[in-house]
C-alpha cells in the first residue's frame, strides 16, 4: 500500500462509530433502517439487540460496505465510511452472521487471503495466520476445505478471518449462533481480552445472557429504529432485567410471548 495523509483519529472523544440519520430502503421498497442515529465510543463493548428483521444486520452491512446506505452519515473513528471507504474499512473486522466464504478454499487460504486484501505483506500474514489458527484451535484443520468443517469450526474460521488484520473495531453479527458451550465460553473469554486490549466491539446476539455478560452499552433496535439505548446498568434498574427491558422496548411482554407460543 502506498501512503499520503493520516485519516483515522485516535482522539478518545472521536467515536469509534458515529451514525447520523441512517436510512436504508431496499429495492422493492422494504424499509430496513429509518433515521437511525447512534454512537459507539472507542474501547466500548456494545451490544446491539433486536428481533429478527429489525435492521441489525442491515445497519452492520451499511457500516462495512456490504450494503449502500440510502441516506445518512456513517463515520468510523472520524472517517467517512462512504466517501473514504478504503481508509474506513481498514479499521473494521467483520464476522458476519452467514458463512460468506469460498467453501472449497482451505482454512489457511481463507484467513491468508483476507490478510492480503487488507494489504498485509507475506511475513505479517504468516505471523497473524499462524497465531489465529493456533488461537482458535484450528491447527489440525488448517489444510481442510471449509466445506469439510463442522458448524463450530466454521464459526472459528470466520472469527479468525475477521481478526487477521488486527482491526481497531470488531463487528460480530451473532458470532455464537450454533456453536457449542465450550467454544462459546472460550470466545467470551477471548472477546473480553481483546476488549481489554483496547479493541472496540459491536456485538449482535439473540442470547441476552451473552450481551449481559460482555457488553457495557446496549442498544435495542425494532422496525429499523433505535428504541432504547444506554449503559447496561440502566437496563437492570427494573425487575426482570434485560429480558423485560428488551420485550418492552420491542413492544412485547413476557405474557405476550407465552400466549403466542401457546397459540402456536
Amino acid at each position: 500500500m502506498t501512503p499520503a495523509t493520516i485519516p483515522a483519529s485516535t482522539h478518545p472523544s472521536v467515536p469509534a462509530i458515529n451514525i447520523e440519520h441512517l436510512h436504508k430502503v431496499y429495492r422493492g421498497g422494504t424499509v430496513a433502517v429509518q433515521d437511525l442515529s447512534m454512537q459507539i465510543q472507542p474501547g466500548d463493548f456494545f451490544g446491539f439487540l433486536g428481533p429478527n428483521g429489525a435492521g441489525k444486520s442491515t445497519t452492520i452491512h451499511c457500516i462495512t460496505g456490504i450494503a449502500k446506505p440510502t441516506s445518512g452519515k456513517i463515520e468510523i473513528f472520524g472517517i467517512d465510511a462512504v466517501k473514504d471507504y478504503r481508509e474506513a474499512r481498514r479499521l473494521i473486522g467483520l464476522s458476519p452472521q452467514e458463512f460468506n466464504v469460498d467453501t472449497f478454499a482451505t482454512v489457511t487460504q481463507i484467513v491468508d487471503w483476507m490478510g492480503g486484501y487488507f494489504g498485509l505483506n507475506a511475513a505479517q500474514r504468516k505471523s497473524r495466520v499462524d497465531m489465529l489458527i493456533q488461537r482458535f484451535d484450528l491447527t489440525a484443520h488448517a489444510k481442510k476445505q471449509f466445506r469439510e468443517l463442522s458448524g463450530g469450526l466454521k464459526r472459528r474460521v470466520i472469527l479468525a478471518r475477521a481478526l487477521v488484520h488486527d482491526p481497531k473495531l470488531l463487528i460480530l453479527d451473532e458470532p455464537t449462533a450454533g456453536v457449542d458451550v465450550e467454544l462459546r465460553l472460550d470466545l467470551w473469554r477471548y472477546l473480553g481480552e481483546l476488549n481489554r486490549e483496547g479493541k472496540t466491539i459491536l456485538l449482535t446476539s439473540h442470547y441476552l445472557e451473552e450481551i449481559e455478560r460482555l457488553c457495557r452499552t446496549i442498544a435495542i433496535i425494532a422496525a429499523g429504529k433505535i428504541v432504547r439505548e444506554g449503559p447496561k446498568a440502566e437496563f437492570f434498574t427494573v425487575p426482570g432485567g434485560l429480558e423485560k427491558a428488551y420485550l418492552a422496548a420491542t413492544g412485547k411482554t413476557a405474557e405476550h410471548v407465552t400466549a403466542s407460543a401457546g397459540a402456536a
Partner: protein, 270 residues
C-alpha cells in the same frame, strides 16, 4: 497490545493509493480456484483446439489450395486460437464474479480496502493469465502440425491481451447481471459463439458474397481474428488501424461501463 497492533501503531495510518498486496491476492485466489479445475480450464480448450486443427486444418485443409501463400492449417490456427482466447476470458471472468456472488464471498472484497478499479483489474489480470496459458498450449499444438508462425510477437500479444480484456469485461458485466447459471451462458450461446464463427475463423472475407462482406466488417470478431492472423502469418484483410481502434474503443467503453456498475454496486451491494 499485540505485536501487529504495535507495528500498526508505530506506522501512522495512511491514505491508500494502490493496494498492491490486495490486487496480488485476488490473482492468487483466482489462480488457486482455476487449479481446482485444470481439465475444464486448460485441457478442454486444448483438446478442442487440437480437434479443430486436425479436422479442419489438416484433414479438410489438405484438400484446399493455398491462401495467400499459406497452407489452410496455418490460416485456420489463428482463428481457432482466438475462439479459445474469447472463451477462456469470458468463462474466467463470469465464473469468478458469479461464484463470488453465488457463495457470497464477494463480501470479503467488499469489506476490505480495495477500490472498484483494483477489483476489476484483479479480475482482468487473472483473465489475461488464463488466456495466455491457453494460447501457449494451442501454439504448441500448432507446432506439432507445423502451423505455428510468429510474424510479429508484439502484435500477437496486443491481440491476446486486448481481446482477453474485452471479454473479461463483458464476462464481469454478465456475471453481475445474471441471477442463475442459465443467464450466465445465454450470451455465449446467442452472441459470442455465432459471431466468432462468422468472424473469419475458417474463411477469408474475399470468399464471402458482397453483402456478407459488409456484415463481416461490422463484426468486431472479424477484427480480432484478422489482427491475430496478421500477427502470426502476416495475412491482413482489414484497413490498417481499424482493428486496433475497435479493440481500444471497446476496452474504453466497456471499462467505463464496468467501473460504473461497480461504483453503484450493481449486483454487488445490497
Amino acid at each position: 497490545m499485540s505485536e501487529y497492533a504495535e507495528m500498526q501503531a508505530a506506522v501512522p495510518a495512511k491514505r491508500i493509493l494502490i493496494n498492491w498486496v490486495g490486487l496480488w491476492t485476488i490473482i492468487r485466489r483466482e489462480w488457486s480456484r482455476v487449479w481446482r479445475v485444470p481439465i475444464q480450464a486448460f485441457l478442454a480448450p486444448w483438446i478442442s483446439a487440437l480437434m479443430f486443427i486436425f479436422i479442419f486444418g489438416y484433414v479438410v485443409g489438405g484438400n484446399i489450395r493455398l491462401i495467400a501463400g499459406h497452407r489452410y492449417v496455418e490460416f485456420v490456427l489463428p482463428g481457432v486460437l482466438m475462439l479459445n482466447v474469447v472463451n477462456a476470458a469470458f468463462l474466467q471472468s463470469t465464473s469468478q464474479i458469479y461464484f463470488q456472488r453465488f457463495l457470497r464471498y464477494i463480501e470479503e472484497t467488499l469489506v476490505s480496502p480495495l477500490s472498484y478499479v483494483e477489483m476489476i483489474i484483479g479480475s482482468l489480470a487473472m483473465t489475461i493469465v488464463r488466456s495466455v496459458v491457453t494460447s501457449i498450449g494451442i501454439l504448441i499444438i500448432g507446432l506439432a502440425f507445423g502451423a505455428t508462425h510468429m510474424n510479429n510477437i508484439f502484435e500477437f500479444l496486443f491481440w491476446i491481451v486486448s481481446v482477453s480484456i474485452i471479454f473479461g469485461l463483458l464476462g464481469i458485466m454478465i456475471a453481475l447481471w445474471a441471477n442463475n447459471f442459465e443467464q450466465l451462458t445465454m450470451l455465449n450461446v446467442f452472441f459470442i459463439a455465432p459471431l466468432s464463427f462468422v468472424g473469419g475463423v475458417f474463411n477469408t472475407v474475399a470468399m464471402l458474397p458482397g453483402w456478407m462482406k459488409w456484415i463481416a466488417y461490422a463484426n468486431p470478431f472479424f477484427y480480432f481474428i484478422n489482427g491475430l492472423r496478421d500477427s502470426m502469418i502476416g495475412f491482413d484483410e482489414a484497413p490498417h488501424g481499424v482493428g486496433i481502434a475497435v479493440a481500444l474503443g471497446l476496452i474504453a467503453i466497456m471499462g467505463a461501463a464496468t467501473w460504473r456498475l461497480f461504483s453503484i454496486g450493481y449486483g454487488l451491494r445490497e
